[in-house]
Symmetry: D3
């Protein structure tokens, strides 16, 4: 399985209770992250940007943790994503993501 | 000026009518796209993903045109961005961006 | 009063402090849920879908609790709503709502 | 194929250019609309509500057309969906969807 | 009727076809704009900011036209609203609203 | 510095780690709130309306606290903003902001 971000506890239950739905989600996830030219890390940074721009704290935290653990994505790289979030989506989204980043770094 | 996407006709008027606001926008734009580690092209792809995820047709079209013209970004690379949009933001956003992409390619 | 979901503690204060605003909200609520052809349960499932698609945890939880308690809506019916959320709005919204559902079921 | 709404011209190209992505989308669509207990028509009305609440004109129009043509969904039923949109998402979303509905009815 | 913005052609039909829904909407509108301390013009500028921040072109245009015609709101006042939109919601929303403003001014 | 709302702990770190980004944010903030005709308080109420409409609890709370402390904005004035949020953005956003307001008032 390529992306563990979306496959937490909830997904384990979907697998058991709704196996055909689980299969579709796995298929979607595989097709999303099996890009033709962009590498997986770049696609993950795009997902992080989208989640942060949408002010989604839970998804932003998961994507940041996954990016740092799986790909060794650095603080500077994440801030470079958040610069784009600031420009496209404004201060509240940027602030929220920044706070999550510093919390994760201090752990 | 690094990014011409955001500097169309409207911005020319802001420059003339509200020069101090214009200066702030230029400063923001410079700071956003002068990343420390990610290159400009990657940051532009992130901006494209955010705009497409937000179902913003106008910004999506501008980002796609800019990406293809300035960086020679290919159709496959854009589709790799849109795969992430599909996963994170659903079919309507994906469909809208896909339609814009094929329209631009046919021109 | 038809829908208790929107009438928690905050609304009790609005009733006391801003009675004319309260009256308008009650009128809106009545007009919204007194459909001509769709039954109340179906309208509540639509509200649940909209709240979950908007990644609104608080409103999603309230709608799920109300749907299960007032109408005996089942887990399978809620998952059928969330399938549509997945398709139209992507994985983060779906995951968030799924997590809320399983938390409510375990209580 | 159950739902033709999402399978317009753009999707025909995805099928040809990115067959593995197309397969995943078909799988997602099947899993989304093959509910266990809610019927397909109810799921489509939920999708309509979500699209209208998100102020997505293109998707709202497609869902309305599909609902009326495939299921004989009536004007009153759609207005019952839009009542929920008004309550959960405010006047601009409601107005936009209402305008689309009346335009479709007059054709 | 205080606010003509929301009462275009669509609403005339709601009045005829769904009078009880129309009554609720009028009540909501009255309660919304009959503030206790803020004047109507300030409330309209807030509505404009919200619509522009949500990238809603149709509602933004209607609010701008209404603000200029009903209250003699000036270009500078609208730009002052859009400054806040830029800070809270990013460049694409700001750009879209700016373009609408200059189009209206040139008519 | 005019607006302390956006300059909490996270921003102190940006100042130290990414000084050129910090400078751009300060410039943006200054340009946003140095309106030509609307006063600062009105601009802050617009920002509050936008944050509440976007269902952003964190930003809404910060804006309310700042508005009450810096400008002596009253409960009635904030409710007048929230009336517009209700009309433009629906009950869930309104409810969330109302709850935050009453919590702040009871402290």
């Amino acid at each position: 399985m390529k992306d563990e971000v979306f496959f937490g506890e909830g997904m384990a239950r979907v697998k058991k209770d709704y196996p055909e739905l689980y299969t579709a989600i796995v298929g979607l996830n595989e097709a999303a992250y099996t890009g033709k030219t962009l590498d997986y890390k770049t696609q993950k940074l795009i997902a992080l940007g989208i989640n942060a721009a949408a002010s989604d704290e839970r998804a932003t935290r998961k994507q940041m943790m996954s990016a740092m653990k799986e790909f060794g994505v650095t603080k500077d790289e994440i801030v470079d994503v958040l610069r784009v979030v600031l420009l496209t989506s404004g201060m509240p989204s940027f602030n929220k993501a920044l706070k999550i980043l510093y919390e994760l770094l201090e752990k």
